[in-house]
Structure formats: structure tokens, C-alpha cells
Symmetry: C2
Subunit: 280 residues, 2 copies
């Protein structure tokens, strides 16, 4: 396994791989890899000749008051995981090389997909995501890229972007990986103290309460939403950012369940913002 820090070097290596007719899978990450990332890497390994993992804490997708500086980083630990999982290349560029002086071009997803869910409290976040992914896809030129379904809005936006810009990368969504008690794995879980960690299961628990309600035939979205909101509010350490139930195909807010309904939430546990979702 090789760690590549230079854009031009990564381009040359990727070109060589493609010129040999080998398939190239890519897992874009911000590092601090956990079981969720491992499952993406495994999926990439199974379906591609060569696998590149990018590790880049992307400054343009953090807001000014967000945790860019404190976001956890551990390249040594990440390298070990990648090595164990049979990754061929880690691409780990410096922020200054990705965004040099005078940098000014951004890729902007449509408002309909960003003026909702995480896009409301994280303005500019998906602009940063789309921009860095357009760059990474250009540099690495993968046949396949793998994304977790935990960041479900990101997955939908990236799919749309790749289709719109004809980027020619297959975007693969992989199921959420959870702790034993149901908490979705996330690099940000490391921010939680013991008490908060226990409280954090309220996200999954509340989604399942809503699901049970739906399984029992409830189709009224506002009623389902209320069950979920009340459940989260029963946890004193939890503070809701949003709980939304939308049509996953159109990103429209709905009153009755649709064929492909997305329940998505962002909840603060103490100061840590966690997300979870369910497609029903």
C-alpha cells in the first residue's frame, strides 16, 4: 500500500491503472476510519481490481462555526486499517494543494436538494462536498465510488451531481453500520462522553418507534413525526436540529407516506451533532 500526497502523482498512478484496463474503486473519506468506512472499503475491494481511499478533511464543507480544526485526525491508525483491508493507495493531499491561493471555483448542487435537512443549518456544506468530490473524481478517475447511507442527503446530492455533470462514476450507497446498541458509527462519536454516548441511542430508538407506527399502518406524516420528536425530546441530553419526513425521490416534503419515504434527523447530544435516517 502506498500513501500519495501529491495531486500530480496520484493522477499519473490513476492513469496507469486505467490504461491497463483495471477497474478502480474509490472510497472518499475524511479519515478517522471506523467500521462504517471498513464496510465501504470491503465493498470496493469486492468489486474493483484496485482500491484507493482518499483521506482529506475538506475545509470547504465546514461552516465557520463548525469543527474543522477539532475534527479527529489519525493517519497512522487509518493507514493500518487500510493496509489490513487490502487498500492499494491512500490519497492524502494537503489543504494548500487542494485549495491553493486564488482558488475560486465551486460546484453547487440544486437548491431543492440543499434547502432541506442538513442543508438548512449547514449552508455551504454540500457546495464543499460537491466541489471536493468533483476534484477527487478528476484526480483519481474511479469507475466506482462508495458512500455510506448514513449521510443520505450527501449520497442523493452526489448521485445527482455525477449524473448532471456526466462525471461517469458509479455511485454506490452502502448500508449504515451501527454499534451494538444501534448508534450509527461516526467519527464524531468520539466527541461523546460516557453519559452522552448512552443518550445518543435515542436517535435510532426514535426512528424505530416511528417505523413501528408506520408498520402498524399509520400514513399521516405529521403524526409519525410527532411520535419521533416526542421520543427524542424524552432524552434530556438531546436537542433536535431537525426531524424531517420527505419523499426520497423528489426531496419534496409530504403529508402522506410516499413509495420511497425518507425519515432523516440531526440531533445534538450535548455539543455533538449526530445524524441518522431510515428509508421506508
Amino acid at each position: 500500500m502506498k500513501i500519495i500526497r501529491n495531486i500530480e502523482e496520484m493522477k499519473i498512478i490513476s492513469k496507469e491503472i486505467k490504461s491497463k484496463g483495471m477497474s478502480l474503486g474509490m472510497v472518499p473519506t475524511m479519515g478517522f476510519l471506523h467500521e462504517g468506512h471498513k464496510s465501504l472499503i470491503k465493498c470496493a475491494k469486492e468489486n474493483n481490481d484496485i482500491v484507493t481511499v482518499s483521506i482529506f478533511v475538506n475545509p470547504t464543507q465546514f461552516g465557520p462555526d463548525e469543527d474543522y480544526e477539532s475534527y479527529p485526525r489519525d493517519l497512522e491508525h487509518d493507514s493500518k486499517i487500510c493496509q489490513m483491508e487490502g487498500v492499494d493507495y491512500i490519497f492524502h493531499p494537503e489543504p494548500d494543494e487542494m485549495y491553493p491561493d486564488g482558488y475560486s471555483t465551486f460546484v453547487i448542487p440544486g437548491e431543492k436538494m440543499t434547502n432541506i435537512l442538513c442543508g438548512i443549518t449547514r449552508p455551504g456544506h454540500f457546495r464543499g462536498v460537491c466541489t471536493v468530490l468533483t476534484k477527487l473524481f478528476s484526480i483519481i478517475n474511479p469507475d466506482n465510488a462508495y458512500f455510506g447511507e448514513k449521510d443520505i442527503q450527501q449520497l442523493a446530492i452526489v448521485r445527482r451531481m455525477v449524473k448532471d455533470l456526466n462525471l461517469g462514476v458509479n455511485i454506490n450507497g452502502c448500508p449504515i453500520i451501527r454499534e451494538e446498541d444501534g448508534l450509527a458509527k461516526s467519527s464524531r462519536n468520539t466527541y461523546l462522553n460516557e453519559e452522552e454516548r448512552k443518550a445518543a441511542i435515542i436517535l435510532r430508538k426514535s426512528i424505530l418507534k416511528g417505523k413501528e407506527f408506520m408498520d402498524n399502518g399509520e400514513k399521516n406524516v405529521e403524526k409519525i413525526r410527532k411520535v419521533i420528536v416526542d421520543s427524542i425530546n424524552s432524552e434530556p441530553l438531546a436537542k433536535i436540529d431537525y426531524v424531517e419526513i420527505i419523499d426520497f425521490d423528489t426531496f419534496d416534503r409530504i403529508e402522506k407516506l410516499s413509495k420511497n419515504t425518507l425519515i432523516a434527523m440531526a440531533v445534538y447530544i450535548g455539543k455533538t451533532r449526530l445524524i441518522d435516517n431510515l428509508i421506508y
Copy 2:
């Protein structure tokens, strides 16, 4: 020569060309080809194994009050020119295939390069240009792309975009091709009636007056600008959109001539908006 109308087919052909190790040159155009385009094609032919010309009147780079519908189109005439010039492929997609229902992603260049010159009276124009070029570059994946220096702001913005997004295409600027009397060749020149056609030489004439002033040692930008503006205003059919003198490297407005000064103008002759420029 083949005319390709389908995005997927164009992608497959371009992939084959690249997989054979052949170099691929691309000339992006909106069709109605003239000597200016021919010079770009010639340059592409000289420096690449295969040349693809895209012909696509891109709706996203026209404002609501601009000439998208009336923009001149003549595929038969364009095909003949391309055939004569030894072009290998024309890529001529339908607007509906380039921008299908639900299309929502845009590539946006930095404000510093767009809040000036043509960007002021054509808001969204360069957003459309950057978006369609990102798409075309993804579909065709050229080694080299060729642009006329007549659209000098476009050339600078595209260079910046390709660098920022790591698109890996060499952007080549080619000199302005002119009519015998100095008028820069443009598909929009066909809009001019006989009287307007004569009046249109005022753009080049006025730039040369400014140049003469600079050749004689004048360094004060406002004085040079006044000479040019007065010259244009001496033509009754001319109405100035802008006359600007800026630093071409930084896109800053300047008071004294810089190492790389750009004189750029847009002038209405009757209802037809023409542009011209000089780098000094």
C-alpha cells in the same frame, strides 16, 4: 467524419481513443463556424491525433433577454467546414439530453473574475459556460481544448476552473481572427446590416487608438480609457456596454498600466453586442 448526438456514444468513442494512447484535441463551439473556429481546429489538428468539435448552443449561458432562440445555427454548413478541416468527430447533443428534467448542478467561477467586464451585464453567463464545459470535458475527456482569445474573459475563467477542479485539460488560447478591416470574426456579425457592419470597425479602431497612445508612453489608465471611449462615441451607431482596462493576471482594476494589461470592451452596434480586446 462522424456526427455523434448521444452522450453515451461520445463517451465510448472518447474512451476508445484514449485507450489506444492517442491524443485528443477538442474545440468547443456553439456552431455557425467561421474563420476564427477554423483557426482553432487547425491548431487542434496540428497538435493532436484526433480532433472532436462540439457544436452546442448552450442554453444555460444565455440570459432570459438574450439571443438563445435567434442565435444562428447551420449544422450542414458546419459539417462541411469540419469535414474540410479534417475533424474526426462532431459532438452535437440535444439540449434535453444535456439538461434533462431535474437538472440542478452548476459550476460557478469566482466572483472576482465574473463581477467585471461581460459578467456585469451577463449575470449567470460564465456559470453556464463553466457548467457546460465541465460536462463536455467529462464526456470527451480531451488532452487539449482550444479557445479563441476574442472571448478573453472566458479563456481566463476556464483556465482557472480547469486548474481549480483538477480537470486535467490543457487550455490553449488562439489569437483573434479578423476581417480585412479589423472587425473580430464572430457568429453574431451576421446580425449586422450593411450600415452596422461598416460601423462595427469602431471597436478595433478605438482599441488601436488607445494602443497608439500607450505606445507613445501614456501609462495613466483613465486617460487611455477616455481616448478609447471618445473614439467609440464618435460612431453614432455604437453604444458602449463597457470599456475596461484591468490587470489581466489578477483581474484587478488599475490606475497605471501593469505588466499584463487587458483592454476589453463590449459595444452595441444597433442591437448587436460585439466584443473585442487587446492584451498589452
